[in-house]
């Protein structure tokens, strides 16, 4: 057994982190929230050039030919930067699912932007920037939308009225789109949690009360440590789920569900603890922390919440 990523996989993730640290700073994310775009067009082009958007598309179709193991660290990096817009939906599902269609080229090079409409949800995230909406059995390119005000400015929500649809499948690697998204968002949430913990740890080192950094108080140390514990123990299950999905393991659905349940709970805990550590400033619009907190409150419920996924794990381990 070897439970680690290859040098190439790690270097690619580092390259992405590097790009995001320049082109997706909290200032950029905030801009995308506040100008209502919910999307960063320049960054999008760079993600296409780097091959992030086409990571899961076969080489024969102009993609990078990667597996979900190759992609999982990228999802995590995207979460660390709270990248706004439909990057997960596009990269994890739409681009590979439509790799053999007329849209393949535009999806790879980012000139088309796709999002998903999953059955269990009446709302479509990112529909305002998408020109392709993929459902479980069709592609919608002609549609109108109504804003229903999602909590996360980088994941705006809409009701969609489709004018016409074309038959298509949203399966990726033999898995339903919602499961691929559960895996992708689990990894993304891990990145979101890591970022919140880093921001709060830095704050706890700097902020002084009673003549000492607040990070020196045990209550604060424990809040932070408990948050980290949950995140660290959600990682290996998430990476395992990526392996199971890449290798066609028979336990893949159980494994994805385990990952999404744990990552959702870890992200929620991290949001609570890190806001608490910030005190009053954590409850403001000005503090960058909200960019990740709201992301975690949105994604912890999207593509199945912890309860839904725990049930699926239960169905497998208790009744399987």
């Amino acid at each position: 057994m070897k439970f680690s990523f290859t040098q190439d996989q790690r270097l690619f993730a580092e390259g992405l982190r590097d790009l995001l640290s320049k082109q997706c700073t909290p200032t950029h994310v905030r801009e995308a929230w506040e100008n209502q775009a919910g999307h960063l067009p320049d960054l999008w082009s760079r993600l296409a050039e780097m091959g992030v958007l086409s990571m899961l598309v076969p080489e024969s179709q102009g993609g990078m030919g990667g597996t979900l193991i190759d992609a999982v660290l990228l999802f995590q990096e995207l979460g660390r930067a709270a990248v706004p817009g439909p990057v997960l939906e596009h990269m994890a599902v739409a681009a590979p699912a439509l790799a053999h269609t007329q849209w393949a080229h535009a999806l790879n090079d980012g000139t088309a932007i796709a999002t998903l409409w999953v059955d269990a949800n009446p709302y479509v995230a990112h529909a305002q920037v998408a020109n392709i909406i993929l459902t479980h059995d069709s592609v919608i390119t002609d549609f109108s939308i109504d804003d229903v005000h999602g909590i996360d400015g980088g994941r705006q929500l809409f009701t969609v009225h489709a004018q016409s649809t074309t038959k298509a499948s949203s399966e990726v690697f033999g898995l339903p789109a919602s499961d691929v998204m559960a895996l992708a968002s689990a990894a993304y949430l891990i990145g979101v949690s890591e970022a919140m913990i880093e921001v709060a740890a830095e704050y706890a080192r700097q902020r002084e009360q009673f003549g000492k950094p607040i990070g020196s108080f045990q209550a604060v140390k424990h809040l932070m440590s408990d948050a980290l514990l949950k995140v660290e123990f959600a990682k290996a299950p998430t990476y395992r789920a990526a392996w199971s999905a890449s290798t066609g393991s028979s336990t893949v659905l159980r494994d994805i569900s385990m990952a999404k349940a744990l990552a959702s709970e870890a992200a929620y805990r991290a949001s609570r603890s890190t806001m608490q550590v910030h005190g009053g400033i954590g409850y403001t619009w000005e503090a960058d922390l909200q960019l990740w907190m709201k992301k975690s409150w949105a994604l912890m419920r999207a593509y199945g919440d912890a309860t839904y996924h725990r049930r699926r794990v239960g169905a497998s381990v208790l009744h399987g």
């Binding site: 909590i151 009673f210 409150w297």
Partner: protein, 382 residues
């Protein structure tokens, strides 16, 4: 022990219910963290006052009904039951008002209480400073004596509703040679004086619920001192005690929220999900437990006991319960919980606000320290 209401209490309850049913606005007012909503809430407070319901526990001469704590809790139950608007002048009526009655001069009572009861003057609290939150004793805003005036300089932050409030109260350093808790004075100050700048701060939901208040050579009469000069800390602690104790978050707020939660569960909850039904049941038990605990506490107060550090137990309990109630609601709402409008709006707004409960009125970490030090008598940390 007799847990039944007396005839007098029941009569009071039905009088309150009748009035509220006839007068509560039929549709919800906009948030009081907006200019329009603030004005509408102020108008509602005036209506309450005219009906004699704005400050039931106050003496009749200042606009109240002399209601004892039990009756006050009964009124609160009826108030929340009726779906009446939030109390825009809660800082005045529930916190400053009782403090003025305890330590204020007769002239201050006459001057400040009636306009507070009618919300002609709405009050903001100005304790926190950028570098003095949990460590409030380290405040630096100062008041310097000049004849019979105080000259205020410094900066306060996180003052709720101060964007539209009329006056604020807070503590200022009056003896620059004294350290920490000593040498502080409790001062009342209009927010429209020359030298005051109020900068709105947007909260997590985007509304400007807070403000920063800058004082630049602001002059107020020395008569605006509440309690003794340089003894402001003790006065502030009395106010904070009211806040953490029973007055800020009466049980009805939570028993009503749990009723709505049960309704939500009946409408959308999956009855076969026993973890969910256990969670909803537990929320009910918590709210009921808080109600019972509060009735017991106020009976003790009526019998002459005072609440000290135990108030910190209350503050932790209600703030954590409030978060829990909203977490469960959002879980039931599922995908709807990602929306800031529509049927889930009240729950999502409530969820965001509930997260600030463990922070305001003294963080829960600080409350736990207080309980450990003063109730459990453990060796002191800091």
């Amino acid at each position: 022990m007799d847990l039944n209401e007396t005839a007098q209490e029941s009569a009071f309850r039905s009088e309150a219910r009748t009035w509220l049913e006839a007068n509560v606005p039929t549709s919800a007012l906009p948030s009081f963290d907006t200019a329009e909503g603030f004005a509408l809430h102020r108008a509602w407070e005036k209506k309450l006052y005219d009906g004699g319901w704005s400050a039931v526990s106050w003496p009749v001469e200042y606009g109240g009904r002399d209601a004892d704590y039990i009756m006050w809790l009964i009124f609160e139950e009826e108030y929340y039951r009726s779906g009446a608007p939030g109390r825009v002048n809660q800082n005045g009526i529930f916190l400053l008002g009782p403090t003025i009655m305890e330590v204020g001069t007769q002239a201050q009572k006459t001057k400040f209480l009636p306009s507070m009861a009618s919300s002609e003057i709405v009050w903001a609290q100005a304790w926190s400073e950028p570098n003095a939150g949990s460590d409030m004793a380290s405040i630096r805003s100062k008041a310097t004596r000049d004849g019979d005036e105080w000259v205020l300089n410094g900066q306060k932050i996180w003052a709720s509703r101060a964007v539209w409030a009329d006056w604020c109260f807070g503590i200022f350093r009056t003896d620059p040679t004294a350290e920490r808790h000593r040498g502080l004075t409790f001062i009342l100050c209009p927010l429209d004086l020359p030298g005051i700048t109020v900068r709105p701060i947007a909260q997590l939901d985007g509304d400007t619920g807070f403000a920063e208040i800058f004082f630049d050579d602001v002059r107020v009469p020395v008569a605006n001192t509440l309690g003794e000069e340089n003894k402001g800390w003790a006065v502030a602690m009395a106010t904070a005690g009211f806040e953490r104790g029973v007055s800020l978050r009466s049980p009805a707020r939570f028993t009503e929220a749990v009723k709505r939660l049960i309704h939500l569960w009946k409408t959308y909850g999956d009855p076969s999900d026993t973890a969910l039904s256990d969670a909803v049941t537990d929320a009910w038990m918590q709210a009921e437990g808080y109600r019972l605990h509060t009735y017991q506490t106020v009976t003790g107060m009526l019998e002459g006991r005072t609440i000290g550090a135990e108030a910190s137990l209350n503050k932790i309990f209600w703030s954590e319960m409030d978060v829990r109630i909203h977490e469960i609601a959002l879980q039931i709402l599922g995908p709807e919980a990602e929306r800031m409008e529509g049927p889930s709006q009240r729950w999502v707004d409530g969820f965001l606000f509930s997260l600030s409960g463990p922070i305001y009125a003294g963080t829960n970490e600080i409350q736990r320290n207080i309980i450990a030090d003063r109730v459990l008598q453990l060796p002191k940390g800091i």
